[in-house]
């Protein structure tokens, strides 16, 4: 592969992955190996895995829809690409809405970023993920805007492909965060 845009995105994603690994490690450290016992809310006492799972399904599915958008562009069907882009953006927005419900639920219980280690690590981790989803949405919106103006009609254009990789990455990060923060609660 010698396309500079594809390579650039791959290395950007690798670098971002390390950033998220550091934040996830901090969560795991304070959650599973706390250096000292602290009182206050925990993941088990505050989080609702069921509701977050439903909203997560939208983000997981959006990986499929963005893949369809990419394929449609390669096949030269701009109409279908726009459709799948709109669906992807919609799913992303629904996921963010779910996140905002989760956050306001925690705020209403009096749990914030300064409450204790759970609050600090949880809001940092999900907050930075949310920022990345938002950036992905902005990029998808730009792609959609360009598509509506008739760009990407040539099959060789890599813009949609590159943005879709970023979106898959944001999705994959959420698979890991959801597993560590929510799913493991059910097992314990």
């Amino acid at each position: 592969m010698t396309d500079k845009n594809k390579l650039g995105m791959i290395f950007f994603i690798l670098s971002e992955a390390v950033f998220f690994i550091m934040l996830i490690l901090a969560y795991v450290y304070f959650h599973y190996f706390p250096p000292s016992i602290t009182s206050g809310p925990t993941a088990a006492s505050s989080l609702d895995p069921g509701r977050t799972f439903i909203f997560s399904l939208f983000l997981f599915s959006s990986s499929f829809t963005v893949w369809r958008a990419e394929k449609s562009q390669v096949q030269g069907s701009l109409q279908r690409m726009r459709f799948w882009l709109i669906i992807t953006i919609l799913f992303g927005v629904i996921f963010l809405f779910g996140q905002s419900l989760e956050w306001s639920h925690l705020f209403s219980q009096g749990t914030g970023i300064s409450t204790n280690q759970f609050g600090t690590t949880f809001f940092t981790l999900t907050g930075f993920h949310g920022v990345h989803v938002t950036i992905g949405l902005i990029m998808l919106a730009i792609v959609l805007g360009l598509a509506l103006r008739g760009h990407y009609s040539e099959p060789g254009s890599v813009g949609v492909t590159v943005i879709s990789w970023y979106w898959h990455f944001v999705d994959a990060v959420w698979v890991i965060i959801f597993t560590i923060v929510y799913l493991l609660l059910l097992i314990r």
Binding site: L7, F11, F12, V18, L23, T124
Partner: protein
């Protein structure tokens, strides 16, 4: 710009570089050479500031119980000196050289993402300005360049200095990552026809490997910075033990960045040495593959040695032994390189230009810094000398005797290409000797001071036997060193106007950047010579005996 340009204007190089001229032309430029030169101006500016800070430190320490600086001012100045020299001088200089020379050396028109290139540069500029704005906003950071928690946390650092430190470095960190991505993609996709990865100049190889270290080492810094910012601005609980946080976590995260950073600061310098020594020895580099390959080994190992900064923490024997072993191991590929360079000079026809003088003294000084570095891998020695002037002497031998001497070699070597004029050799040798003598006077005695027990970062010291005289020697040395740098500035100012015109290839070097004019035109090359070996310009001049006729590449 509605006026139609005249023929003369459209022939002017500036109009090819961008649509603006003058200062705006510089600021808006995305040409890798213009951005490279802006990096040089930026680092020169911060190098002078960081140097003045160093002199202030040395004045304060010139004699026992000195009262030249207050303790607070002293803490701020050594913190800013370290932060400036690492993040605003050494790393941006190396990236500046890479941005300027990598496209020329691989025969490309520009970097892969010219606008991203400009973004990287301006992030560093504004990060630096932000950091220095702290002086006007309640005091500069005063917790050392690695800002250990909990000292860097709100209860112990109530002024906003650390906030500026963290946010400024975050901006610089983002700029560095994007710079690294840009260089990797440039080297992978824009090489001239025939230039396989095994044929690129070693400077490009080192930049390539180095960019991967940047890619994976800067995110831990950025992550620890945002965590520190969350602690300080949003009352988070990452690093404050009093509320259940972990101060050790900061050390782990910071050094996971901090030690690879050491290699980020030396690898491109090795690349410069690998260009300069062959050209001034009139010999091909000895063991191209070994020099390139050992850099990959170093890049991998550099992520596995960081906790030798933390032996004094008490993480336990298994932990200490693992990191001690890796730290011993990394000395092997490093030592191999030294032998490669010596073997390159062996039997060569050495020309002792200023550039070569710097390169040769690099070998000596860097070896001294390397040996003291290996001594830290031995845990008991580390415990004995941790946080003394022995450490200060060690890393100045690595970063000044190593990196800065290599940068000087690179500057004297490439200045003709950048400016079109030669630096004066007479002033150059004066600059070299003052710098060499001043540097060794300043820092060699600090080894002894450290072994005698003088702690780093203390603003003054009692009049113990020998301390006063050794510190005075160090301070005098620092001023000799400062004089040496002053001569360099004079040399550059003089040579830019009156220097001998360089021509395309004043050193009779063999890599592609010398195939174009000095300075290169905005489009870099009118014609790229065929690349059939590691030394395309040698092949061009010696058609009867080209490199590619011999075995290998």
């Amino acid at each position: 710009m509605t006026e139609i340009p005249t023929a003369a204007e459209s022939a002017h190089p500036a109009s090819e570089a961008g649509e603006y001229t003058g200062l705006l032309g510089w600021v808006s430029s995305v040409d890798h050479k213009v951005i490279g030169i802006m990096y040089f101006i930026l680092v020169l500016f911060f190098f002078l500031i960081g140097g003045i800070e160093a002199l202030l430190i040395r004045i304060q320490l010139a004699q026992p119980r000195n009262t030249f600086l207050s303790p607070t001012a002293y803490n701020q100045i050594f913190t800013m000196h370290g932060t400036t020299m690492i993040f605003l001088v050494v790393v941006p200089t190396l990236i500046g050289f890479a941005v300027y020379f990598v496209p020329l050396m691989i025969g490309a028109r520009d970097v892969a993402f010219p606008r991203l290139n400009a973004l990287s540069f301006w992030m560093v500029v504004f990060g630096g300005l932000f950091l220095y704005f702290s002086f006007f906003a309640g005091g500069a950071p005063d917790v050392g360049w690695f800002s250990y928690a909990p000292l860097s946390e709100l209860p112990y650092s109530t002024t906003p200095g650390v906030n500026y430190w963290a946010l400024g470095l975050l901006a610089i960190g983002i700029g560095t990552v994007t710079g690294g991505i840009n260089l990797i993609v440039t080297i992978l996709t824009l090489r001239a026809p025939g230039m396989k990865l095994r044929r690129v100049p070693l400077f490009v190889w080192m930049v390539f490997v180095n960019s991967f270290i940047i890619l994976f080492a800067l995110p831990p810094l950025n992550a620890s910075l945002v965590m520190l910012i969350i602690d300080r601005l949003l009352n988070g609980n990452f690093f404050t033990p009093a509320t259940g946080g972990s101060a050790i976590l900061w050390e782990q995260y910071f050094w996971a960045f901090g030690h690879p950073e050491v290699y980020i600061m030396i690898l491109p310098a090795w690349g410069m040495i690998s260009e300069v020594i062959p050209v001034f020895s009139r010999k091909h580099i000895f063991g191209y593959g070994i020099v390139a390959g050992s850099s990959v080994a170093i890049a991998v190992l550099s992520f596995l040695v960081y906790a030798h900064h933390m032996f004094a923490v008490g993480l336990g024997n298994p932990f200490d032994i693992a990191f001690a072993t890796a730290s011993f191991m990394i000395a092997v590929p490093t030592g191999i390189k030294i032998f490669n360079w010596i073997a390159t000079m062996w039997g060569g026809k050495i020309r002792f230009t200023t550039s070569m003088a710097y390169a040769v003294s690099f070998l000596v000084l860097f070896t001294i810094g390397g040996i003291t570095g290996v001594s830290f891998a031995a845990v008991p020695i580390d415990w004995q000398v941790e946080d003394t002037y022995y450490v200060v002497a060690h890393f100045h031998y690595v970063l000044f005797g190593g990196t800065v001497f290599a940068l000087m070699a690179g500057l004297y070597y490439w200045f003709p290409k950048i400016s079109g004029r030669m630096l004066s050799e007479r002033l150059g040798m004066l600059n070299f000797w003052l710098t060499f003598i001043g540097f060794n006077m300043t820092f060699f005695v600090q080894h002894i001071l450290g072994l005698m027990g003088m702690s780093r970062r203390i603003y003054t010291y009692p009049n113990l036997p020998g301390w006063a005289s050794l510190n005075l020697v160090s301070t005098i040395g620092a001023f000799v060193l400062g004089l040496g740098i002053l001569v360099l500035l004079v040399n550059m100012a003089y040579s830019l106007r009156r220097g001998k015109v360089a021509g395309d290839n004043p050193w009779k070097a063999w890599t592609l950047e010398w195939a174009t004019t000095s300075p290169p035109p905005p489009h870099n090359f009118d014609e790229i010579p065929p690349v059939r070996s590691q030394r395309p310009l040698w092949d061009l001049v010696h058609p009867e005996n080209p490199d590619w006729k011999h075995a290998g590449d």
